[in-house]
């Protein structure tokens, strides 16, 4: 087996036939010619390798050694390169490809955005574009600090951003600002109203004037705790009402669903389509580019050219597999429909009464009519019905007038 160094430097394979082939080898040593892989075929014939440059010198030893020397083959990288020299395309195209690869790695062909949940990718991409970072832009011009500062200025929802450039890939890591929790502002003029009708069981007014007592019925929108605090001795005060009102409430929620549904059954027929994306341009290798077939699922796979995590070229192959299907109508059983509706109704009720609410009693009625399943939930619950609402201008005016009258 040829060594890598021999392959790179190149070597010649020679055959020597004579009465004493060993004389040739000794002559080579005298001449300072290195040789290796000496293989004797028989007592008069040997095969051996030597460097390309030494091949002629060895052949010149024919008379001195009394052997007939034949150059069998020249091998190695120099010979290969010499052959390629005539085949212009074979070395020119890889060279062009290498240059294109090197040049294209100086441009941005992929932008990865991580860490955003509320701020969309498009918003960040637009902000980046304003800062000069977009697909196809020259990456050596980038200043990570400058881009980061501009990004944070343009998107106040972001509290932190990091811009890293890896060849042709730009990685943007962001952290979003947390929403400021709703603060209790004492100076705000607010009442506590009923968000749900019910019979009041208890009322706890931490601030404000309670207008209902236990056992009274409040309908939706009634002011339960007023922010206007009248005083016998002093002026009327307007405060931010605060408190909780626990009440018995009743719910009747109805849910309807069709008993029939459609299911997809793949017919087995598939259609493969390919497209090539070069930057923002797309070359479709099929007709009717924008029209997708009816009754088929299109599975789109994209294969980008490049080394994952290192660099990305703006070339990608798009493979679209269209799997055609037929729909068949199936029916739910009554048990299935009932279970689905019950689950949906219970979820809706739980959302309505809130985390601290409790269900005292509940009943679900179920029937099937005209191909539809209908379920009705009736429940009695206990929950906090208090909700903050701003005071109307009339209320504030009235309270202010009273205040002025008392002052006079």
């Amino acid at each position: 087996m040829a060594r890598i160094s021999d392959c790179l430097r190149g070597y010649a394979e020679l055959k020597a036939v004579g009465a004493e082939p060993a004389r040739l080898l000794n002559a080579c040593l005298e001449l300072g010619v290195d040789f290796w892989n000496v293989y004797p075929e028989d007592a008069y014939t040997i095969y051996f390798n030597c460097r390309l440059k030494a091949a002629k010198a060895v052949q010149a030893l024919e008379n001195q050694s009394g052997c007939e020397i034949e150059l069998l083959e020249k091998r190695g990288a120099p010979i290969f390169a010499r052959r390629l020299r005539r085949r212009f395309v074979l070395w020119f195209l890889p060279l062009v490809l290498l240059i294109v690869l090197l040049v294209s790695s100086l441009f941005v062909w992929r932008i990865d955005i991580e860490g955003n949940e509320k701020v969309s990718d498009i918003e960040i991409m637009n902000a980046l574009e304003d800062s000069g970072v977009y697909l196809g832009s020259f990456s050596l011009n980038y200043s990570s600090d400058l881009i980061r500062n501009q990004l944070l200025l343009k998107l106040p929802k972001l509290k932190w951003a990091c811009v890293s450039v890896f060849g042709s890939r730009v990685q943007i890591k962001v952290r979003e600002r947390e929403e400021i929790p709703k603060l209790y502002i004492a100076s705000e003029e607010k009442n506590i109203i009923a968000k749900q009708a019910g019979i009041i069981e208890s009322i706890r007014a931490l601030q404000g004037n309670p207008l209902f007592i236990k056992g009274q019925t409040a309908v939706r929108g009634d002011t339960l705790i007023s922010g206007i605090l009248p005083s016998v001795s002093g002026p009327t005060r307007i405060v931010h009402a605060l408190g909780s009102v626990r009440a018995r409430t009743w719910y009747e929620i109805c849910a309807v669903m069709p008993m029939e549904y459609e299911e997809k059954v793949y017919t087995g027929a598939e259609k493969n389509r390919f497209a090539l994306e070069l930057g923002d341009n797309r070359i479709n290798f099929y007709h009717n580019s924008g029209i997708l077939e009816v009754n088929c699922d299109n599975i789109i796979s994209e294969y980008s050219l490049g080394i994952e995590g290192l660099f990305q070229l703006p070339v990608s192959l798009v493979h679209i597999v269209s799997k055609s299907f037929e729909t068949r109508r199936l029916s739910f059983t009554e048990t299935e429909a009932r279970a689905a509706l019950e689950s949906a109704l219970n979820l809706r009720l739980a959302q309505s009464i809130g985390e601290d609410g409790e269900i005292t009693s509940s009943e679900i009625t179920f029937c099937v009519s005209k191909g539809r399943a209908i379920a009705t939930l009736r429940a009695e619950c206990k929950q906090n019905i208090a909700a903050e609402a701003p005071m109307s201008p009339e209320e504030i005016n009235q309270a202010t007038t009273k205040k002025e009258q008392i002052n006079q």
Binding site: A22, L29, G32, D34, F35, V38, I46
Partner: protein, 89 residues
């Protein structure tokens, strides 16, 4: 010849190891599949079963199977194959 014997006796007198004396052939066998012959004076004969090398005071013969001259320089020969014996003649 006299000179060579003198050199050897002086080396023996000084207690120097044999391979410290210039030109003494040295044979190293590695794993029964490779023999390194140093300080040889040329190849005498070569076939698949034996390789005969001229040394300073005689000949060295390596016997074995599928012997191959892996590399050869003015002073060193590497012989590969199944080594059976190395003889001095």
């Amino acid at each position: 010849m006299k000179n060579k014997n003198h050199r050897r006796s002086i080396g023996e007198m000084l207690g120097a190891p044999a391979d410290a004396i210039k030109g003494v052939p040295r044979v190293s066998i590695s794993g029964f599949t490779q023999v390194l012959l140093e300080n040889h004076a040329g190849l005498v004969g070569y076939c698949r079963d034996s390789v005969e090398v001229r040394a300073r005071n005689g000949f060295l013969r390596v016997r074995g199977q599928d012997l191959e001259l892996a590399a050869m320089t003015k002073t060193e020969i590497i012989i590969r194959g199944i080594i059976v014996s190395v003889e001095q003649g």
